[in-house]
Symmetry: C2
Subunit: 242 residues, 2 copies
Amino acid sequence: MNNHAPWFYAAALDESAAAVLLTEEEARHVMAARRLVVGDTVCVTNGRGLVACGVITSASNRPPEVAVSIAEIQKLPPGIPVHLASALPKGDRQKTMLDMATQAGMQIFTPLRCERSIAAPGKNAAERWQRVTIESSKQCRRAWLPEIRPEAALADFLDAQSSGAQLFLASADGVSVSDLPQAAMNQELVILVGPEGGFTSDELILIHGHCRGEVRLAPSVLRTETAAVLGVALLGQLSNRQ
Amino acid sequence: MNNHAPWFYAAALDESAAAVLLTEEEARHVMAARRLVVGDTVCVTNGRGLVACGVITSASNRPPEVAVSIAEIQKLPPGIPVHLASALPKGDRQKTMLDMATQAGMQIFTPLRCERSIAAPGKNAAERWQRVTIESSKQCRRAWLPEIRPEAALADFLDAQSSGAQLFLASADGVSVSDLPQAAMNQELVILVGPEGGFTSDELILIHGHCRGEVRLAPSVLRTETAAVLGVALLGQLSNRQ
């Protein structure tokens, strides 16, 4: 696998393909943003574990289309299932949160509706968020796109958790990540992050009935998006302890 | 100490003061952004450990001035000395890095000049960065402002390290934070973060002569600012292990 070639995204890539076509936004990204031309090497992922590397065989502007002949194709494992379940910060901070959490290893994202929530998913939010996670995945060479789930009310989210998942609460009263119980390989790890102002005491009672521990992410009060990003990174360290 | 009052910054606050005056930017922040009025409770820090809480006794617009009578004053300890020594990302990412690293517990910041550096400190960078760290410190109620040091060439930075400091390299080949050697209380912990494209092999040889371990922050390639923020958070967990 070429370690320096830039990555692109094509949902249509399949295991038996000899070539793959990049269209629209991805093709424009190849030509305009990265200024790549016929003969340059690129990697293409389908966001579900496949990565193909090869060279650009044609590139045209109208409509934007780039063809890549595949020299090598690999299926990569999904890695640690870290699930971020977080209240939404406002505006641009949503993008920062999803971008950095994707880099940090987030595999599932559920926006939580909490009593003190200050933001709800806007129109076309899932689509916008997916674009952010695609860009971040390309940048950090992830072969698995994070899964973006619909917004859930906190109580419904907690009720729907499978017994296999381990929930942790991001909390200033929590312990260091080294003091958390070890996670089994492939076990889903969920980090719960509240809105600015925190979860209410009623919400905390609910959460304590489901969660496996509280983790202290930093010495001081954190903004929602910072807690989300640090929470994903710290839970990712748990599964490294095998 | 009032846990809900907003925090403001006044370098001039001293231990024996009965009142403190907020001027210029801070006073405008009280009145325009937070819309606080005479009688409201606020906390004021000098960024060197002192925090005073009290009520606003006067507020005037021209020039912007807010007086606070002090009801309670505390001196807080500085916490874990986590030092971020990082190549600079470009443009707005510098602000994101310093904002989130401050929340995550960064106490010292040194911008590193590396062979593959893509950005240098712009004009008035130190001043701009200090404004960012002041805003973040207020937001996350930190009584100690991070110290911003001048840019240093990597080799000079490494040579100048005191024997007491422990350096760690952010690296995809590193170990999980739980597998790092424990840190003694109050020992300075330095996280080294390279530019996009990483440190060169010559730089890595230099670094290996000084560093105590390599820490893997996430499963994939990280942008500089993300590595910086996660590095600060993860080293902060080391000192929680006493």
